[in-house]
Symmetry: D2
Subunit: 374 residues, 4 copies
């Protein structure tokens, strides 16, 4: 077990293994009472470590091979603007987050990934040295704690992601880079294939997509990244950590352009059965680092691990408390509930919303944004 | 603060205070990986106390004045049939659950309620002495830990609930009794008003409804209970702990007759804004013990506490991380998100499901049950 | 054939035959360009007889045994308020309408029913002599043309319907009386059973429901009427001519309280297959005069006649151009269309609206009315 | 007036006038009882001329400038396969249809267009001489009656349409050609722009799209045709006659791949207000011949004529019976109905389906076809 733990992210991916990522932190901790929506900053790592630790544990138990540090939006410039607890510094958060991630990762076969996200500085200054200095500062915090690898995530301009990769590669650690973009490309109009090429040329070992759009859309975007790499004769591992919400109407900007964002997303939440389908599609697309972002709770991660149990060779710990495909329902006292104890039932169910006054889809993203802005 | 903590459930209700209940445990812990659906038994109190403790804390932080012991389905006869971990006894669970509930309750101004639910023995034997012996055993476990009061819940035959109340009243502790029935009455056809009368005559200090149906339907049923009490010249406190799901199609049997039960309920989950409306309706109906059951997460409980903040005189701790009615969005970088920072927006939103191939409602409960049974 | 034509409405009903009614005129002729919505008056009988005649013919061809005169809202007091062509008198319309109805009825085995509807005078004056004088005038017009029987329809106060029946019975012709009320009763709160009793006591030979609500709701109301008659030891024939629209949200006032009324009702239109179900339910409830009102086009009437073909002993002429239950699709060139050539397919289809931005249901009637009035 | 009538289709279009087309015949006459679904052949022109004539009149009255002969699928080879009345020949139908179209056209300012549609022979033989012989025969029938121009329609292989145009141009009459294709191109994969180029090179004076898909999708396809012509330096008039149904899920094959086709399309029917939007979009795209196909009833054609009343300089006759944008509702007795008397209300309404058990969208076309074929 000990030696297995020590195997790094690239060893695993190079060996063709499936790496299960963890789920989303900020939206789930908002619901639990530890993160403030609008701010979305991670002071809870310092204020309420037991809450963050428990969420890490749920993901580990659900099958995650990676615990990401709870450091979203944790650059100094972002905290200055957005933090809701001014007395806690970014360095404090980064440090506490690394310790907790390591503590939980060591409880199972998981690695710690230091997570770095987009900076306000990029849009404001567009200055490469300034932005890189911010990433450097975060990297230094993480390197003190010897995290296993880096993930750049939630960046919607490939140029900023390239800068982040260039900085983080100086650490000597592997770097994964995920953009939060649609199949149409990044916010400068760079198509996914070209984005992937730039990231790999900058040194990224793993490239892919996270957040902003639903799983199958994100799989589509990663496929476009792969096609771009193939055409350029480049190679990289692929990763994906999409939303756990149905977002068929979204445009470039993703779920922030939905009327329901962020406080009425419940009805869009995916079932575990939809995640089975996603995990299979992602695997079939050649993606081997498969996780989730906002909306992914522990049971969604467990669904990835259960769908790919044959490929991985084992079930996650939490499956002790889960009859696969609802099998445990066969001991229910009601016969019509027992009738649901199987894959065919759940795979074919089209769940009703229970909301006959609500539409299925919202207005197209761009229209909606314009309307609210005016 | 110390003296305030010591005030009992009846002192509070007699004083006209709003008591906020906690949310649902088994469905949430199923998602987190600690409870097995179909079984729904609470071995996690012994196996994974940190997970249960964290969920207690979330509810406390969200404003709950009561922490219910995590002892659902924890009678010996039910565990014999349903437990998924045979090596753990009911007594062990009851004991561990009481300790944890007390530990967390003491972190705030909360009471511990020992929770007792329906027994398979009732349907099987219909024997008053046998059923009462089972309740007596549970009561004894709880009394060793000196819980503050009892809640009988999730009972769908008023007769069984009456037996439970008669046993628990021998402890000298206050007793609340909630049935999981619809406005049409219990499974023997006894109307809600008559059910309430029988429970109060048996000694219940608080009566009401929990689980099985959505909040506004449950408010309707509690109103019928109150009308029955009024007509009989009886008085009791009223409580309510409904589902956190929209269930417009349900019949007598409640949400177990929905196609989505139990693994595809996501799309029916209520938003926090729907809970505001529920809390107000419940309050207006004269109900003063207001909580939730399956589907109620911490942020739903917080919504009750926020809606009734004026009546209670304070906000819950978790509101530090919540801009009331989305107020904190006014610092968002996107103008169309900032436009949502207020009550009017959220109160009027009809959330889309993002599922254009799915219906709004499922087939009427009875039809569906017949279909699956055949 | 000749003798068969001469058999009156009561002869047929007394013999236990199914009498198929015709469909709706004003909404269909509005779409065709001959009636003005809001006014809904029948000047087209004089202005564009060919258009009215063609619609009569479609219903006859679809199986109707009764052609109602196109005289909706054709009392002098209503025309004064609502007519959109002031130069045409009520007497002119009544006369032209009777001629056309007779002309078409004689092309098949159909009777002519003179149709009389509610008067503004009733609400304004509440004067029995004044209201009765209005009905008398219409009756005299119709008697000049020797129509076969009378139908009082679209009346929502049973008192007014009773007055109409009392007048029309003086003609010596049979009288049918249909109220446009919900299962909750008429606008004075008189329950359907009591309404039926009063109508029969006033002399009505046939009683029932028309317009305002969807077919299955109207069947429910007619059942309540029948129960009232049974309880009172009275007997009468039952008739029904409901909307051809799905109206699950309607309250007392019926479809006029829907947001879609009157210019966006398309999406609520019933399929022919839903009409099959209605015809069977109506028949099973003991109703033998089965037709339609607003929203019922010729193919809906044909569906009644096809569903009850075995009971009636024949198919309507238009079935020459209709493969029963879609049977004619078996000669389609596309295999997936051929696969639909049968009852099972159509009976089980849940048709999609093609409108993902629209809800399934509108706001409850009362709320909506209040909102628009304010 | 007489001289105005004589102005030909090209004179009008060359002068920049808007030409309003007529609506759909076969689906509407199926509902009225005169056409058999699956067959869809036009024997009714001979059997029930009064019914066809009345529908022509409704379209004329609604504003149509063109009356198309009721000759859909009226080639000898198609009739041999599909006709449901074998004793009536194609020549008989063509002749009767021309006479009726002329009779009605002369009642207003309308032209007669001889309509020719795709032949089974094309798919079966792929023989240019054979297919052209069939078109030649139909042309000869029409020329005996001196129709004003030809329309080739409902062809999904551009090659067949080109052959038809080549034949019909020998008559010396103007020729319009509309394909029933999606923005993806014809069934051989020829993109819309290229299709338009081939049709114009073959001699078509007017090109465009009809049937198979909803209005806004068809506008998109016509725009692609225009772009192709522009790029090739060619010029032609543009026309459009789309479905009157919402079909967001359709693939290449159009509405025949919907579960609801052809007997449950009600709920997809467009409102008059959606047609206003379509007419404006079509006009803005430079299309000047604007009509409809299946699902377009008289009131939809009236909506085109009303939306473009300013551009055309007059309202259609049927607008006498239509308060523009619901204006006539301001005399309704119910205040909440009066509140709807205006454009803002109807333009913003999202109509409910009244069908809470039905989805908004069906399965994607290809999946559905596969499923039904297997």
């Amino acid at each position: 077990m000990e030696s297995k733990k020590r195997r790094g992210i690239l060893e695993r991916l190079n060996a063709g293994e499936v790496v299960v990522g963890d789920g989303g932190y900020v939206m789930q901790l908002e619901r639990r009472g530890y993160v403030k929506a609008g701010h979305w900053t991670p002071e809870a790592a310092v204020e309420h470590p037991e809450a963050v630790r428990q969420l890490h544990r749920e993901f580990l138990r659900a099958g995650a091979n990676v615990i990401q540090t709870f450091t979203f939006y944790c650059s100094e410039d972002k905290l200055e603007i957005s933090s809701n607890v001014k007395s806690i510094t970014g360095a404090q958060i980064n440090e506490a987050a690394c310790d907790m991630a390591r503590e939980v990762a060591n409880e199972g076969d998981a690695l710690v990934a230091g997570s770095v996200s987009k900076t306000p500085c990029y849009l404001k200054s567009h200055s490469e040295p300034e932005v890189k200095a911010i990433f450097k500062k975060q990297m230094d915090d993480f390197m003190k704690k010897n995290i296993d690898f880096f993930i750049v995530e939630f960046v919607d301009h490939v140029e900023e992601a390239v800068w982040a990769v260039e900085v983080l590669k100086t650490s000597g650690k592997p770097v994964g880079a995920t953009l939060c973009i649609s199949p149409h490309g990044d916010l400068d109009g760079v198509p996914p294939g070209e984005c992937a090429v730039r990231l790999v040329k900058a040194g990224a070992d793993i490239v892919g997509i996270n957040c902003h759009l639903d799983p199958l859309t994100c799989v589509r975007t990663v496929k476009l990244m792969k096609a771009g790499l193939d055409k350029a004769g480049l190679k990289a591992h692929l990763m994906i950590q999409p939303l756990g919400f149905h977002t068929p109407e979204c445009n470039l900007g993703g779920y922030t352009s939905l009327p329901e964002y962020p406080f009425a997303m419940e009805t869009r939440a995916m079932t575990r059965w939809a995640i089975h389908k996603y995990a299979r599609e992602a695997y079939n697309a050649g993606i081997r680092y498969i996780g989730g972002c906002c909306g992914f709770e522990a049971y969604h991660i467990r669904a990835i691990a259960e769908e790919l149990a044959a490929e991985r060779g084992f079930l996650p710990p939490a499956s002790e408390k889960h009859g696969l495909w609802g099998a445990a329902l066969d001991m229910h006292t009601k016969p019509w509930v027992r009738a649901k104890a199987g894959r065919e039932y759940w795979e074919n169910l089209l769940p009703a919303s229970g909301r006959p006054y609500c539409p299925s889809m919202g207005p197209p993203g761009d229209d909606y944004e314009k309307q609210l802005e005016s």
